[in-house]
Symmetry: D2
């Protein structure tokens, strides 16, 4: 099932475990509360890294399907949960400076999540430097940039960020990115927080450089939200479901399955490509209303960040600040 692309460690683990028993190097646990399910996947060794295609580290996934209902209270509880989970990885001091980086292309709606989050961050670093007396002691130094993508700037996104990090010298870098998942119900409702940063090929923008602690020289946490499923994934999943259904149908199914045995992964992929011929670039599946969805999700994420980055700030205060 190599042709199914997912940026979620949790989904990579699910896919892997469907066909393998040996979970050595991969730990996972889940809990649910108030309609929000949190799954913690830990890749603990190189073995695990190879199995999932995800670097050693922690991957916290917050699933909040209820976001679809549009209830402000529920959305606020998601922001609070993001804040709490984020804090466990951030370990900020009183004087920490945080750089928030919104990855992605602002001209491509589903890829514009990062820049949209950045536009709603409580940016305070300059105020603390220029008029420290007028700033509440709960406020930490936060700065934020949306560096654009290679095709727009001609510069590797990692290079732009590295240059800014070298000037600003933040204690932590928080990278926001739009992801691709495997399942449509996770679009706009699932948030992954990882202390491994962003790695080549991940996200909608296909980075080619790592953006992580190793490349930047400072702790780097990535926050990602699936905004699309690749059309190819949808088509392949449909085939798999049909094949499994048939297999469970007794003799005829067995016969069918035998014939399928001769079908390679490549053949199934080729079949799907017949359905998906098109020439403009990757085909993606999104809700028709993805423009509004990006708006909503970026607000939920940015409020989670505002709560996490400053001490004892209320949502009311962060909204008033941004007003």
């Amino acid at each position: 099932m190599s042709s199914i692309r997912t940026d979620l460690a949790m989904e990579a683990r699910e896919l892997y475990s469907q066909q393998n028993k040996d979970m050595d190097g991969i730990e996972s646990e889940s809990e649910e509360e108030g309609g929000i399910e949190v799954t913690r996947v830990r890749v603990t060794s190189l073995k695990g890294e190879v199995k999932l295609g995800k670097p050693i580290g922690n991957y916290i996934t917050i699933e909040a399907g209820g976001i679809k209902e549009g209830e402000p209270e529920f959305e606020e509880s998601v922001s609070h949960r993001i804040s709490e989970e984020l804090k466990t990885l951030l370990e900020l001091n009183r004087d920490s400076t945080v750089l928030v980086v919104g990855l992605g292309n602002w001209n491509i709606t589903p890829d514009s999540l990062g820049p949209k989050v950045v536009g709603k961050i409580m940016v305070t670093r300059h105020i603390l430097e220029l008029i420290p007396d007028q700033v509440d002691e709960r406020v930490r130094a936060v700065c934020a940039v949306a560096p654009g993508v290679l095709g727009i700037t001609g510069i590797e996104t990692g290079e732009v960020i590295k240059g800014i990090v070298d000037m600003v010298k933040p204690d932590v870098v928080l990278v926001i990115d739009a992801l691709a998942s495997r399942k449509t119900q996770r679009i706009g409702t699932t948030i992954q927080i990882a202390d491994t940063g962003v790695n080549p090929g991940s996200g909608l923008g296909n980075k080619r450089m790592s953006i992580n602690e190793e490349s930047l020289g400072v702790k780097t946490i990535a926050i990602g939200v699936p905004m699309v499923v690749y059309a190819h994934t949808i088509a392949r999943d449909s085939l798999d479901i049909l094949i499994n259904e048939q297999f469970n149908k007794g003799e005829a199914g067995a016969e069918f399955y035998k014939s399928l045995g001769e079908m390679q992964e490549e053949q199934l992929d080729a079949m799907v490509k017949d359905v998906l011929t098109q020439g403009f670039g990757d085909l993606v599946v999104t809700p028709k209303e993805v423009d509004m969805l990006v708006e909503d999700v970026s607000r939920i994420i940015s409020e989670g960040l505002n709560l996490a980055l400053h001490d004892n700030i209320t949502l009311e205060e962060s909204r008033r600040f941004l007003h």
Copy 2:
């Protein structure tokens, strides 16, 4: 294959003819020139109307896959072709007034084609009324509106248009709409021109009233471009391809097919729904770059209209006018 939605008469005909021989009430012919294929489907009787689910009338489809290459010369040749085909249906007089209507929701990228076209139309009616002496005799009276959608205005789009038609009394109404097709390669590359207007349930915005000669009291021509394929269609098409492949595999295939014989359309649809669970609204497949695509296609369409609505106007002149 009832669950596959297409707004193109040409595709409806294709789907119908795959499983039926009796094409009574449906005529079709194609020609190709300079990389542009033109198919003319004619629904000639109620029988044809029932078969295709499209009203009696003419449906001209311009397929221009080369649009993907982004060559200005080719795009201009598509605009010219749109103009020529449109003129055969328009039959304008020297003093005709034309109302261009851009259907769709400007807040939903793939549904914003109509409003985007309207923004690039050479609007001249007011100039001809206020300062007729300063207007070139080749210029016809053109006005243009984007009436919004029911969810935004609280008024049926057809009602808004009818109200404006009653005031302006145009000789022809041209309605632009974003469509759904069955095949991904037609997204942004295929233009349908129909003298039957727009009918309930068609387009991305799910109109509930007809917008046609009968409802408006004036000749109404619809121009539509597929901007999405429904995700459901992609998934169903994948299943159909797999099933057909298997059928052609001799004995095992025949066995498999027998077992499939017991599967209802509804079962296949249910299977697909398992893959496509999500809660925000319809899932659509688009190129990731649909924002730019809408921009490009709206320019090609609007230039086709500008060429068709005025006499012997050049593209250079229409661009200068809009500058």
Copy 3:
């Protein structure tokens, strides 16, 4: 002082009263509460109409300079005040239908107030028609359109509205428009509510047709907010202040004034034109941040409307509806 343009009846009255004693046909009274000053100007006769250049009717002006501070509580109190004043003119029944019309050009930032307000209105008419059982009894039928401007559509704005009114048959039309005032401190902080509609030449868009009860056949209330001062007004006001200062300086002032006596209004205007040569269209004075200002003011106005048009709706409820 004929060259100073203002759309506010209150300012027209101020200007008139500076040079005239006879206020026959014009009534005016003011009250202040909670930082909001409300002035009610009543033009009671044709005499008053000629004096002010404003039709017979009621003009309620709400001045809320505190909007500049950006305090959410104060802004909400302004919305409540708009709602209360509006209700005195609206006189809605349980079954009244209201059409909200946002005048102005969405491509010109300070003129985009009307369309921006329309985008934040609780639109309910279609819900009441389609699924009346699911609608709260406090909700009234509200629909909303932004008809564009003559240069964009080629149709007089009044014609478009008349056409829609004839189809929808609302009981009241509420027209929102961006205005020009005389004083910069009123930009974005003053709201005029008038039962005389919108009249030729008023607003930033220079309408040429009346949009009022006479032209539409239904009660029409206009809500306007100054978003610009014409640069010409600024320059002329500067001259007037200098001239008055000099006049108060005793003998030299008297001498100077005598020499000014020979200066015509036209000469002063010509002088100002020397300063304001430019060729792109009217020069306007706005705060540099007018993009954000239009956003804020449109929210305050739309919330005032949402409170006024439905019964006992809270701001919380209207925000949730629009979410």
Copy 4:
């Protein structure tokens, strides 16, 4: 006349020379061709620097009032002229890398010129690095960023640029910025090219750090276009014109002037502040259509840059590249 703010060296020189004879340290010459006037101001010594408030260096001003007419041919000739003047300062080699920086706030229309120009630059550096074989030899390595402003990022713009310069190591930095001028007719029609970079307090965004060769360690050229006149300048200019008119009126004028002699600059400024009370931030004068103007001017500038940065590129080619 200290209260009149201008970012144009040419205007600073005009203002200075109205009241002073000693032009030591300042050189200036003009030429006109095809409706375009080019003025070259050279500040040659610290004396000149103090007089004009502009650092030692070259300031080329291109005045093209005809831009208002919107003729494509004329606009193209302006782009060509920008290219030619720019080349005299750039001195590029075959292998030079150029970083284009668009200063300004994309949320404030008249300040969004820089980011808008960046969006229309032929960005090629990544293509030359990744697939050098596929690139025409005339193409030079160009990259481009819009770093945002202090209030949005929390980081000094100069710091962001310095960080990127240290990573990318360009041979030249080209900084685009929206300016304030003294005269309304220069809005959107005048282009200043300076080899002194951008200095504190200049531009609409009020930088506080220099962005020049000294701070970046690499040749830095600034391209600026006035997009506003401060309202204060308009008001003060009106007063000055009135005062001068009166002075030329013989005896009464002389008397008046004597009385004015007692008026300080500060008094005139205070008078103007009476007219311009407002609380949202700086009041600026712009054409009402500034949104469209920024669009047009950014195209003219970016095309000038595209012509200058690559060898023997035509406008047709640069447009096709960006398509």
